[in-house]
């Protein structure tokens, strides 16, 4: 009995939470298909014209490309910075991990708005391209995601023994890493890259303040539209949401695949 009632409560609470979180998104979605929806309970009609208008707009394409570029660059830099370190911490020396704890709370102690203050103070007058600083700074702020996802990739297998086994069998450390470690943390790397990409793709604070309006990314374009054209902005918001949903879907697919693999390997050892 105890279990049943608590399950009903749990379901009720989750449904309420679901409605609460999803309502603004759904409303925006409907708004983006409405001919007009101002001060009425229901929209006056439905249309796709806002979509065709936005997608054919050159500003949209260029801001999308900028955000994509920013996301890709950041993803690569974050991997270069963290893959070797996480590998080292898991295979050579686990004590390193306690020193990396500071990274995981970085977005809370030094959020974007604080970091950008320091960046402006230091780099405003230096002849260094601001875009470079921006990419590096976004990489820094995405490190917690990258770190956590990569570190998770090392759970479940004895990577240290595998790496050392490859060395004993005659491989050089670099070759052992490429042949034995990399193929077995593929899923983790993929997840880390997706998460990093998503956070960089949607970055706003650093980009806006560091580069002013000179580098219009998707989010900045979204803000500009929000001030001037509600319909177009709702389309962009919906597209952004669909992008997030797509990333979540890919993540779920990867993790399912990964979990299945894990389960079968566990079955093997207990035989």
């Amino acid at each position: 009995m105890y279990h049943k009632t608590s399950t009903y409560w749990a379901r009720g609470i989750m449904t309420a939470l679901f409605l609460y979180l999803v309502t603004p998104i759904v409303v925006t979605l409907i708004y983006s298909f409405s001919t007009s929806w101002v001060k009425t309970i229901l929209p006056s009609g439905f249309t796709l014209k806002w979509y065709s208008q936005l997608i054919t707009n050159a500003d949209f394409t260029s801001s999308l490309l900028r955000s994509l570029g920013l996301g890709l660059l950041t993803t690569v830099i974050a991997q270069i910075c963290f893959l070797p370190v996480v590998f080292y911490a898991n295979v050579y020396d686990a004590r390193v991990k306690s020193h990396l704890r500071f990274v995981t709370v970085l977005p809370f102690t030094i959020p974007g708005i604080i970091l950008v203050t320091g960046l402006i103070q230091l780099y405003a007058d230096l002849p260094i391209p601001k875009l470079l600083i921006l990419v590096l700074a976004i990489s820094l702020l995405s490190l917690p995601l990258t770190y956590q996802a990569l570190d998770n990739a090392f759970i479940g297998q004895d990577f240290r023994a595998m790496f050392e086994q490859a060395l004993v069998l005659g491989d050089s450390p670099l070759k052992a890493f490429i042949k034995v470690i990399l193929p077995n943390i593929r899923a983790g790397i993929l997840i880390a890259m997706l998460l990093t990409f998503t956070s960089a793709f949607g970055e706003y604070v650093l980009t806006n303040i560091l580069l002013g309006g000179n580098f219009e990314t998707l989010k900045i374009y979204m803000y500009r539209l929000m001030q001037s054209n509600g319909q177009a902005s709702s389309v962009l918001t919906t597209i952004y949401f669909i992008f997030l949903a797509l990333v979540s879907l890919i993540l779920i697919v990867i993790m399912r695949h990964y979990a299945k693999h894990d389960q079968s390997s566990q079955k093997g050892t207990h035989n």
Binding site: A161, M162, Q165, L167, V168, V180, S264, G268, T269
Partner: protein
Amino acid sequence: MQADFLQIQHLDITLSGNEVIKDMSFKVRRNTLTTFLGPSGSGKTTVLRAIAGLNQHVNGKILLDNQEIQDQAANQRNIGMVFQSYALFPNMTIFDNVAYGLRVQKQAPTEIREAVAAMLKTVGLTDKRDAYPDQLSGGQKQRVAIARAMVLKPKLLLLDEPLSALDAKIRVSLREQIREYQQKLGITMLFVTHDQGEAMAISDDIIVMNEGCVQQQGSPMAIYAQPDNVFMAEFIGNHNLLTGQQLQRLGITTAGNHPLAVAEHYVIRPELISQIQVPHSVALAGKITSLTMLGDRVRYQFLTDSGMVLKVEELNFMRPLSTNVPLTLFVNPLLIHQVGTTYAE
């Protein structure tokens, strides 16, 4: 047999600031299976990793087949290693796992195919050739790991607790197989374990370690019957460990062929206290207070009239000694072994 195929001389190992191995020296004979036995944390695995070249800070000399190897990288030593966790590469088939080292050496594909097929046959896994590690049982995985190491014909094969992750039954059968491979292929093996029974069962030689030092090296028989010091006597576990003074209270005045020294420690093996009287044996009066069934043997607690508790073991003839009735048992002082005064350093 070459007496000093592997020589460790004055080995010192420091791990994260702690000196875990202190001035350790020992030798291993060619074509033998030598076991490193000791409680966990005694440094067995550390020494094994040093021999394989996997430790960073090592002082001292390691000679393999008269060659100094302590400065060579792990991938230059031609030493095989088998890990407790199998360390199979999950992204490769069994064939590719076993072929790994041969491919590193850039051998011809036909040679690789033949060598791997022969090795898989030896370990009885020919039909698993194209399977992936996660489709194998623990015992099969460890056989792949052993095959992967043996196919390279290493000068020395190191096995780091290879059986610890396996079920009891598989553990026994696999240890016999390992012994068989060792004798068939003539590989020198160094085997780490914390399981006495395992060490006794398969070794030519046992090296017992504690706290970074060798306590005793010898044949399983010698390790069991003639512990060198108090640590060894306690480590073996089921012996009666008594001081000279305690022996005197039992009415015993000599041990081996020597008069007793009061402060010395001695061991009496429980199976050597019996109801059978031989010339020169000493009678011990007392009674049995409890018995434990061990299967093939029965272990008794024997309380002597002088107030001491002794462990006594007899083969199980299905007629155990009665408890709590007066009984006289006999021990031959010639078989009492002296182990030393205190713990060895």
